[in-house]
């Protein structure tokens, strides 16, 4: 067992434990912070797969951006001090059946399909990913920037309306 594989085992246990906490905790703030732990663990998994640029993007955007947004969402929508941050679950049984079925399907695919073996990848990927963005993936890249602009305006428009209503 190589040190890389050992680190992989430890970090996947970390990620799955954090994900379990997100799914089953009763406190929405704790769920948000456990999600932060899970996303950070995924960034470490990216490093172990020698995806260094992706790990940096994961930390910057997910851990630094999306998680802050989630905590904003939690704090702005719970009545502070009046009602607790308690989470209630519903649909437990149908959801369990669905998840077991989909998990079985995924496990079956994992087991049956002849996945091509992994090869060693060289670590500094940022330069080549940047090159791909400006050559092979130029159109998706530009579409993505337009989409981000649309989302920016759309989010402001949706969120502004409710402020004006008050």
């Amino acid at each position: 067992m190589t040190p890389t594989y050992l680190a992989f085992v430890v970090m996947s246990a970390w990620v799955l434990a954090a994900a379990l906490y997100v799914v089953f905790t009763r406190n929405v703030v704790r769920a948000a912070y456990a999600l932060l732990a899970a996303l950070f663990g995924v960034a470490v998994l990216y490093v172990l797969c020698s995806a260094d640029f992706l790990a940096a993007v994961q930390v910057l955007i997910y851990v630094g951006g999306v998680n802050i947004l989630i905590i904003f969402g939690v704090m702005l929508t719970e009545h502070m001090g009046k009602v607790s941050f308690r989470l209630v679950s519903f649909n437990l049984r149908p959801a369990l059946v669905t998840c077991v079925l989909i998990g079985a399907a995924l496990a079956l695919g994992l087991w049956v399909y002849p996945w091509s073996p992994a090869r060693d990848s060289e670590a500094p990927t940022a330069a080549r990913i940047g090159e791909l963005f400006l050559t092979k993936y130029l159109l998706p890249f530009e579409v993505a920037s337009v989409l981000l602009l649309v989302v920016l305006i759309g989010a402001v428009a949706v969120a502004r309306k409710e402020v004006r209503d008050e």
Binding site: A38, G65, F90, S121, L147, V158
Partner: protein, 101 residues
Amino acid sequence: MIPTTHLLAVGAAMFVLGLFALLTRRNAVAAFMGIELMLNAANLNFVAFNQARPEALDGQVAAVFVIMLAAAEFAVALALVLSLYQTFRSVNLDEADEMKG
């Protein structure tokens, strides 16, 4: 080097957990946390597939696009959740069942 199937197994487990959160949570923000878990599981699969052709880097580029879309999605989702909260005074998904404009 980590075997592809082991990465895919972790991804599958994360995906199922995220799906469970999405289906069972009443709080809209908590349901979105499930979606984030599912997106991360898909990204982990992209990185695992990238290991089959490491010189092409297709999988990692796809994963960057997914991260970008997830950020955009959550910005819209937060605006919608705030709007939902203003309308219904709650973010419980099963209480928002009216469609009056």
